[in-house]
Amino acid sequence: MITFILRRLMAAVPVLAVVTILVFSLLYFAPGDPATIIGGDLATPEEIARIRSVLGLDQPFLVRLAIFLGQLLTGDLGTSIFSNLPVTHLIAQRIEPTLALATVTILFSIAVAIPLGTLSAWKAEALIDRLVMVVSVLGFSIPVFVLGYGLIWLFAIKLQWLPVQGYTPLSQGVGPWLANLVLPMLSLSTVYIALIARITRASLLEVLAQDYVRTAKAKGLGDRKVLGHALGNAAVPIATIVGIGIALLIGGVVVTETVFAIPGLGRLLVDAILRRDYPIIQGVILLFAAAYVLINLMIDISYAVFDPRIRY
């Protein structure tokens, strides 16, 4: 297993290198120019040219790529073109809210979706099953931002139970931290609950139809124990979909962070794209790519945990 992990980590290096060069190239050839944004309405063509020169944007592609890669190898992600702050500093400021939102969302989704999916499979074709499936179709269908606005209106404006926006660091107390996370978590988790519940139901139905389940039942094993065994054997596809869900969360948090004004990495990235703040875009995408690689690795490891037949 250790060899497998090391091999996978080594394989991540060329993946990240390709992502780095790809992102750099895309940004180089994409329309837009931070110099014109910095210059603003007042800038003359000469001033814009001077800003481009100061920022090094007038350098040829290969020179800029070499400078960027050279910085990267020393752990330097560069400096924001606009704020003049190091990208690592900006990422450090933003990583906690994103991690917190992603973690509570995925934990909440798993905690709700797996029991729902299990119940649905156990009571297949019954009213409760139909109900769960209707709810999950709704969960898929409602856009995150629409649900977010609805939750804000109900819980923040009308009932005044929860704050509308913002993020309180965990260091300032669990209560305020959770209070800021509840609404974004609810709006973001709906789609994942729907996704995971449906996959759980499908996997369990397949396992419950296996001969060994019928044999176990015939031998008088209790429902709870049968379900426990079946769930264990249905875990691999569920783990896969949870992994995909975590990866998709990276995209999902962008909208949620905007609606709830959470200062996370998603908003940092969107703001940077709109302003063409290249070093931030490159740094955050590289981080996201590394997160994808790591999540995939963890999912692969979880296969071996859930299914003893799988060995690396």
Partner: protein, 531 residues
Amino acid sequence: MTLSRRTVLKGSAAALATGFTLNGRAPAIAQAANRTLKFIPHANLSSIDPIGTTGYVVRNHGYMVYDTLYSFDSQFKPKPQMAEGHEVSTDGKTYTIRLREGLKFHDGEPVRSRDVVASLKRWAARDGFGQTVMALTDEMPIVDDRTFQFRLKEPFPLLIEALGKPSSPVPFIMPERIAQTDPTTPIKEAIGSGPFRFLANEWVPGSRAAYARFEGYVPRNEPIDGHAGGKVVHFDRVEWVIIPDPATATAALQRGEVDWLEQPQGDLLPVLEQSKDITITSYDPIGTVVLLRFNHLHPPFDNPKVRQAVLAAASQNDYMTAMVGNPKLFRECKSFFPCGTPMSTGAGGEAMVADLDKAKAMLRDSGYKGEKVVIISPTDLAYLHTLGLVTEDLLKRLGMNVELVATDWGTVLARRASQEAPDKGGWNIFHTTAVGVEFMSPTSHLALRGHGRASWPGWPTNPTIEKLRQDWIKSGSLDEQRAIAAQMEREAFTAAPYVPIGQYQLPTALRRNLTGLVAASAPFVWNIRKA
């Protein structure tokens, strides 16, 4: 020890309750809340350099942190701010300016003449009015720590007006060591002598900026009057909460999480109007002007007759209704200077007849050959994109061949800077807005220039406008200035460097317990207080 489910639930409930009942915790917190102002600015504070970056949000940040030598009062007259006063030599060529006593920067250093001179030089490198000043300046000798001079090549009666320029970039005064930064390189420290200190360690670009009252700031004794007068601060702390989503910003104000929403979105105003806890008003007495800019370098708008046809077709009411909606918030203004300001004469405004049939006839006679008109329009700035859509419809009805290129603001700005032909990455039309104070004087009016490729995008060449501008700069009395401004307007309505498409008041929304909002072209945090 074992934890039962009930114990965990009880603990969680208690922990949550701690967070949820913060409002009722203690009088001390309520008192602190009264000394803190939470403000949602209209945009993200992505830079802290008010000279290097000209965005209004950075200018507003500048007004928090920095001070100016002079400031405009409500009658648009420059009044001393950091300056104690000035003397002018009898030949009008030497201005001796003395600083107020006791001015200090946030790092504890006194404000000295050399700081002022370095700051004005950096400002002038980025500002059109500043460049005019420097072109007429021989030298700026330092007399002593509190006194310096402008030695001019010829008399320049507008010098003090230039030093009080109220909008981007504002001639803010910063320490010499910072002001010596190249004007195109962003500064790294926000150290000023204004009423608030910037709390750099709390700045999270895209999310939050915070300011603390500067205890060393000594306001002037005069009452507040526009940008001028004593900046008396009633808050210990000001927090800028960046909320990019307009609906969320509206909800945060409704909920009382913030005190002031600088620019509520027009279609959400009815929601705020329903709340008895919220006041909707406007801080800027002049308002914002809106314009449709032609590219004069390429067909078809290199032909003045085609520009005149569009000018004759445009209905300001159509544009402003589409963009602003509420008729109480906008006005038609057939003038190249903002209506309600001294230079606005409306001379020649009768050219804007909003008559499509007449405009069609003018277009037929113009020699228009069906060239494609490329309108660049930013979809992420909905108010500007609306203008693009109105123009697209108008030009199609006029019989023109139109392509609307809808993209994001960053791309619009980059494309707008291109002087290439429209089919090679250039453009024919863009729309923008500007706070009225920037267009109220020919010296700072970017769009009313005629110096060709060196001028603001659109690049019109018009020697008459340039000569009139020079005459205006050298003129003495207000009557003389107005007479020249009328000539400029008449020429502009003939040459059509752009189409003025209206003027509107930006609404601002505050919690009702805030009083003392200053009428000025920026959202000032002095004079205002929380009940």
